[in-house]
């Protein structure tokens, strides 16, 4: 609106307002869009990193050889020429003409400054010394014959030094034969462990949550005790995962003398999943109109049958959504696993055993080694797998929640 409205009989000014007010308005508008960008950029950053680093692991496998950059070093013995591993950046420098890329068979991944005993190996099928392949390496001080024997072939298509082949190992193998410095193996133990954990937790938390919600809505609505129960559930919602884990530790292990196991972790996770399931079931039950309950009573149906056969089926969709969302949240929890479960690289089905793999603890293990180790890279694969599971569950929840009501 124009600021000159008091002037008689001026033209009505319908132009956009200018000046300070408009500037502020535009500024805020800009800030709001910037806020959205600030919020979304991390999402793409995280997901992008996880996908870029983790996706290759999910459906390809690294070949069974590794490229390192090494310089000649004092040889302890005459049969083998020893090389000292140097940082990859040395290989790229022009003035360090001693530093060479060397390929080792067997997938071993030695650390920087570590001595590498270079063993003769059988050449691969592709001609290792063909100039066009760009892979032939001259190793100083060796007989030409031995050189040919010593070099591992690099397929010509490879620029970066490793070539991946399609493989489902990630999904079918565990890490019992591989350590953090080796390539190979898969994440089957972690995947099974996480799924088993989620399943056991749900089997306990879901009936308890639904029964509790039925109690609050169908039997105790308005009564004093229901307020107490509701308050307690609120408290449980706010318990940090580490405190829940400590409680289970205190009870199950310190006092009762049990051991760390998947079962123990599941109990802690139950404490975290239970309030979610209970609250969402409660909301869904409240949405069922009383007229349906009345119709059932009027047919001479007792209360418990009314709840089981009329009320619960009507609220079924929403309850399912709540359960799936609770599962998604719980599968990503790590703190209870740290306290109550030891990570084991072997595929293990028994939930009472001491060691079991799980995706979150595998990821944690991956952060404890240097970033270029295969174990660390497997951490990104595990992260991607975990995100896929969690987001998959979220998607299921959304779909179930939105499907047509009439069916």
């Amino acid at each position: 609106m124009s600021d000159t409205v008091n002037e008689t009989p001026a033209q009505v000014d319908l132009s956009r307002p200018t000046g300070k007010r408009q500037m502020v308005d535009n500024l805020i508008r800009g800030l709001v869009w910037i806020a959205a960008a600030v919020a979304i950029v991390p999402l793409f950053w995280i997901l992008g990193t996880v996908v870029a680093k983790g996706a290759p692991l999910l459906f390809t496998a690294e070949p069974d050889y590794t490229r390192i950059c090494a310089v000649e070093a004092k040889a302890p013995t005459k049969e083998f020429l020893d090389y000292k591993r140097v940082a990859a950046s040395e290989c790229d420098k022009d003035d360090t003409d001693n530093a060479k890329n060397i390929w080792l068979s067997g997938g071993k991944y030695p650390g920087v400054n570590e001595f590498v005993a270079y063993r003769p190996v059988t050449p691969l099928t592709k001609d290792p010394n063909a100039a066009a392949s760009g892979g032939g390496i001259v190793i100083k001080g060796r007989e030409p014959q031995a050189q040919k024997q010593s070099v591992v072939g690099i397929p010509s298509s490879d620029k970066a030094g490793t070539v991946r082949t399609a493989s489902a190992d990630w999904w079918t193998k565990d890490q019992s034969a591989t350590d953090l410095r080796e390539v190979g193996g898969g994440a089957l133990h972690s995947i099974i462990g996480t799924l088993e954990l989620g399943l056991i937790t749900s089997l306990i938390a879901v009936p308890l949550g639904i029964l509790g919600a039925i109690y609050l809505v169908e039997y105790a609505r308005g009564k004093g005790f229901s307020k107490v129960v509701s308050f307690m559930v609120d408290i449980l919602t706010g318990v940090p995962s580490i405190v829940a884990a400590l409680f289970i530790y205190a009870v199950a292990i310190t006092i009762l003398g049990g051991t760390r196991s998947t079962m123990a972790s599941a109990l802690a996770l139950v404490l975290l999943m239970l309030p979610t399931v209970l609250r969402s079931t409660e909301e869904m039950l409240k949405l069922v109109p009383d007229s349906l309950r009345e119709a059932s009573y009027a047919l001479g149906v007792p209360k418990w049958k009314t709840i089981m056969n009329v009320v619960l089926p009507t609220a079924r969709k929403g309850i399912l959504t709540g359960i799936v969302l609770g599962m998604a949240r719980v599968m990503g929890e790590t703190a209870p696993l740290i306290i109550l479960l030891n990570y084991g690289p072997r595929l293990e089905w028994n939930p009472t055993s001491n060691n079991m793999g799980s995706l979150p603890t595998q990821i944690m293990g991956a952060t404890e080694v240097a970033a270029n180790y295969p174990g660390a890279e497997r951490g990104w694969g595990a992260a991607l797998t975990l995100i896929l599971i969690v987001m998959g569950l979220n998607l299921i929840a959304r779909t179930v929640g939105r499907s047509k009501k009439s069916r």
């Binding site: 349906l292 009345e294 119709a295 009573y297 001479g300 149906v301 009329v310 009507t314």
Partner: protein, 258 residues
Amino acid sequence: MAKRIEAKDLNIFYGNYHAVQNVNLTVEPRSVTAFIGPSGCGKSTVLRTLNRMHEVIPGAYCTGEVNLDGVNLYGKGVDPVAVRRNVGMVFQRPNPFPSMSIYDNVVAGLRLNGVSNKKTLDEAVERSLQGANLWNEVKDRLGKPGVGLSGGQQQRLCIARAIAVAPDVLLMDEPCSALDPISTLAIEDLIQELKDQFTVVIVTHNMQQAARVSDQTAFFNLAAQGQPGELVEMGATEKMFSNPEKKATEDYITGRFG
């Protein structure tokens, strides 16, 4: 199968609030009785005591007797759930169970009370739906959801559901007030047929409907402002509408109040 139902010295309370006082009435078998009266005078409340639905509300209770062919429904040791198997109810808004198909809705009462023989259920479905004048419209889609029908059809489905358990008395709480005129007419015709087999008590705020449909009419009203409701007069419908005995009845019928 249709039985006589009567109320003796019935007083109805919501907690401390005395809602209806001193109701004495008799409903003959195989007849249609209409409860009429202004809003808030207690006719629905009285209806709900006849099948012990009133006490589902927390704190609600009543004193007196309700006799079904001489058996007191409020006697010692009587199970309210059992009462409701013998006295059925149809509600104001159609409320088919959304998680069930048409077939499942009709037999819900039977199934939940332990009947599982498929042949029995099939026969019950057909008879009840025929009894509710709905069979021809839905016989080829019994598996479809119950909530997929129009309002009038849903209400007839609810009636089928109520009569499938073959109650002795059928209570109807303003069954047409949520329906359009044509569906209303269909249900009124249906009520005329139902009275061959059932005792029907219907609450309605529509006097013309009461006049059309019922054999006996009971007029309820508040005793005075702020007082409990009570049964003012009950008698043959023709007489109630042409020559009632109490002045209050006449005032209501002729529209001077209510």
